[in-house]
Symmetry: C2
Subunit: 315 residues, 2 copies
Amino acid sequence: MQNRITSLFHIQYPIVQGGMIWCSGWKLASAVSNAGGLGLIGAGSMRPDVLRTHIQQCKAATNKPFGVNVPLLYAHTEENIKVILDEGVKIIFTSAGNPALWTQKLKDHGCTVAHVIANAKFARKAEEAGVDALVAEGFEAGGHNGREETTTLCLIPLIREITTLPLLAAGGIASGKAILAALAMGADGVQIGSLFAASTESSAHEFYKQAVVDAPDGATVLTLKQLNPVRLLRNAFYRQVVQAEEKNATPEQLKELLGKGRARMGIMEGDLENGELEIGQAAALIHQVKPVAQIMNELVSEFNKSTHILNNFTF
Amino acid sequence: MQNRITSLFHIQYPIVQGGMIWCSGWKLASAVSNAGGLGLIGAGSMRPDVLRTHIQQCKAATNKPFGVNVPLLYAHTEENIKVILDEGVKIIFTSAGNPALWTQKLKDHGCTVAHVIANAKFARKAEEAGVDALVAEGFEAGGHNGREETTTLCLIPLIREITTLPLLAAGGIASGKAILAALAMGADGVQIGSLFAASTESSAHEFYKQAVVDAPDGATVLTLKQLNPVRLLRNAFYRQVVQAEEKNATPEQLKELLGKGRARMGIMEGDLENGELEIGQAAALIHQVKPVAQIMNELVSEFNKSTHILNNFTF
């Protein structure tokens, strides 16, 4: 199967691994690329020197295409982009910010640019900015998330109506059947986060991966809506947020409670009580930590099996 | 196409019209059943005598199967069920309550019973109670909704994992492509609400239908979470709820603000400012008020076209 996403990124399967903070270093990204998907290094949690090392190690670990995800509102954005261009990475996924800021500059350097959106307004903005593809991320996705709370099932057809750009569905995709559903809705491919966050090659702490595996339905929640809405596992830190909100905490007080390094504490250091355990609703569908090669095999074989089942369906 | 849902309800297409308050009387239910789906009268907004009239008119308007939706926690539940059995209706969808309460009694009267759930716990409860089918309703659905906020895309595979019961996907389904996506995820059929709430045969007010047609993405919100979470269009009433919550309103104060008859005011009387305008996120995908026959034709033909497109996809 070849389609606009596989052609755009020169990959075998239209499966992109989301560039996540504290999860997706060179090990995860290169494993996904080696398995025929597109691996993304998550620059959001990396200083420029760390990012450079990860890019260099990723180049050493795969000769397949890989990319970097850059949240535009984070610290070090400009220096990180300088490193990415300097290292010759040609695929950049931008998120959490205005696509008009960097898209044209990146394209002038020969990069292929995708931008992550959660509503129609930013889809239009990204298209105007000249992006090559869109990632439409629904309410069920882990980590930072849109204010409209539009779910993947509603967001994909909504974005498909207003643009002909290559489109990746993100949020709630954790199986071959879900990939098929995303393509049925009009997406050209998928971006998968949670499933890879809990993979063997993820740099997240074992405790965090186990918490994802153990999560039942309803274990995640979109919170901190007064700051930037973020989906995470309910834990002691989350209950502190709820208590602060019940006492009418101001955004400043919530920022102070959040502090610095919460996500690192939770995801990388495995502090399940005090850390910020960002993950999507798909956590409830993840029952085992598996190596990336196995995950990719299962995604592809379940997808293929499911298309055959659907062949029997016609009204 | 025949499958477990079409066989269970003796219908042509595995498309159920959700039984909604103030929208789905005999006109809507009979139109859906006449078009090959399963129409449901929404008993939640009907006194027993009104329900009896709707059932009798529905019988006069179609010789196809139709059913009644009964929210178990509402007033008149017992009397309404007496009317349903007395009138010989053999398909009952229960929701908003404990499935153990009524399922066996209804089955003893020869009824086919489906129950609406939003999480794994109630799916298990419903199966234990002996229901014939489940409706799994995601966060994007209009009206009353689960506390877990699990989206349809995550809920369907989750429920599919734990039960082999016939399964209808609900929430965010407003196109043939979405039906295909639901079947790809493991559902056997769909329950569609919003699209029919805005149809010609819906008994909702024209102003309400136009508000649904005009709704952009982000226009709906899940609110009143301290009482029973409900998804509705943001309007003046919703802003009053937000203000009350900002002032730490108690559940009792919120109940008083909600008062009685808000949904009737909004949906049936067309008071767009003071009414409760229950509708799903799919509102953003609805651009025109159409007759049920046209809606059903479009759903089926888009579904068929989409399966053909997917036939070209194999990895």
